[in-house]
């Protein structure tokens, strides 16, 4: 079995260093891949510079890794930026998906003759859930502004990604309850295909926002420094 393992002496120090850093970082795949690709290129440049005329060898690669900093030194800075990117991704999803609950409800509430409208209790509940979704969308928009160009003038509070994660969770819960309510309502109303469709849409949106909010919470729990 040990014959299948790579010979430690043959492992490229740069690739090993980048892989070690990748293992401790959390964030969107795109941002993480991009930042690590830039780091790898920088390490290769440094190793080339440290071995003029002979090409980057193992010793030069190890020296480049030392000059760039250990995983413990680099990870907090990388994680801070990845956490902000993940939080912006979550905020973007909330802003895009949560407000769609409102037109969904309005279409359903006004569909068909009065006798075929949603039960009153379901309408009241959906109105509250719609309001919650709208509130989370506004919070998400504020977060996107605060971590974009506005951040040139205002410091970004350390706990902001955690706030975004819980805002996302709130939106996801509102969408899950909406999906449940719409599913129940579809059994009670004549316009059940519309209700069932809206319920299915709400559950898909719930899944997307909940997954992003969970990833955001994981990022926010990791040590990070600007």
């Amino acid at each position: 079995m040990s014959g299948l393992l790579p010979d430690p002496a043959r492992v490229d120090p740069i690739e090993a260093h980048v892989a070690e850093l990748a293992a401790v970082l959390r964030g969107t795949d795109r941002a993480k891949t991009r930042m690590l690709a830039e780091l790898r290129e920088g390490l290769l440049d440094a190793a080339t510079e440290l071995a003029p005329g002979r090409g980057p060898d193992d010793a030069a690669a190890r020296e480049a890794v030392r000059l760039f900093g250990s995983v413990a030194e680099l990870a907090p800075g990388f994680q801070h930026e990845l956490t902000i990117v993940q939080a912006r991704h979550t905020a973007g999803r909330i802003l895009l998906l949560a407000p769609l609950l409102l037109p969904c409800w309005y279409v359903l509430a006004g569909a068909g003759p009065t006798a075929h409208r949603l039960p009153y209790a379901a309408q009241v509940l959906l109105a509250h859930l719609g309001g919650t979704a709208a509130a989370t969308a506004l919070a998400a928009a504020a977060f996107l502004a605060a971590t974009g160009p506005l951040a040139r003038r205002l410091a970004t509070p350390d706990r902001l990604p955690t706030v975004v994660a819980w805002t996302g969770t709130t939106a996801a819960v509102a969408l899950a309850l909406s999906a449940f309510t719409l599913t129940i309502a579809s059994l009670l109303t004549a316009s059940w295909p519309l209700c069932a469709l809206a319920g299915a849409v709400a559950i898909v949106f719930h899944a997307k926002i909940a997954a992003s909010a969970r990833a955001c919470r994981e990022c926010a729990r990791l040590p990070a420094t600007a």
């Binding site: 941002a31 991009r34 930042m35 690709a37 830039e38 780091l39 290129e41 920088g42 290769l44 440049d45 440094a46 510079e49 000059l67 760039f68 900093g69 030194e73 680099l74 800075g77 990388f78 801070h80 930026e81 902000i84 990117v85 912006r88 971590t147 974009g148 160009p149 951040a151 040139r152 600007a226």
Partner: protein
């Protein structure tokens, strides 16, 4: 000068070396060290999150460029980045003038 002392001025340093034209990450690092004659010590790897942050703030733009088999991300200043650099310079001049006036006060004129 240690890396921790440089950190507070990192944004200004990065914007400054990019003022003359686009550079990729490692070229930015070497430009900072060359301009400071090696006095400024940077943990080189810490530059990359900083460049990403400046791009998020709209102070830099970046594009991937292929050089042979390698791909490098090149950064350049945006108009907002140039304005931010002007502000950084102004703040730095005021800061050094204030510190200088305390550390090296003008000799008081003796009354005649």
């Amino acid at each position: 000068m240690k890396a921790s002392e440089v950190r507070g001025h990192l944004d200004g340093l990065l914007l400054s070396v990019l003022e003359s034209g686009p550079l990729h990450g490692y070229a930015v690092i070497t430009a900072v060290q060359e301009r400071s004659n090696g006095v400024l010590e940077l943990r080189k790897g810490t530059i990359y999150p900083a460049l990403n942050r400046l791009e998020r703030l709209g102070l830099l733009d970046s594009t991937w460029e292929s050089v042979g088999e390698r791909r490098r991300r090149c950064y350049e200043l945006t108009d907002a980045g140039r304005r931010s650099l002007d502000t950084e310079r102004k703040v730095w001049r005021e800061f050094t003038a204030a510190i200088g006036s305390v550390l090296e006060p003008a000799q008081p004129r003796t009354a005649t």
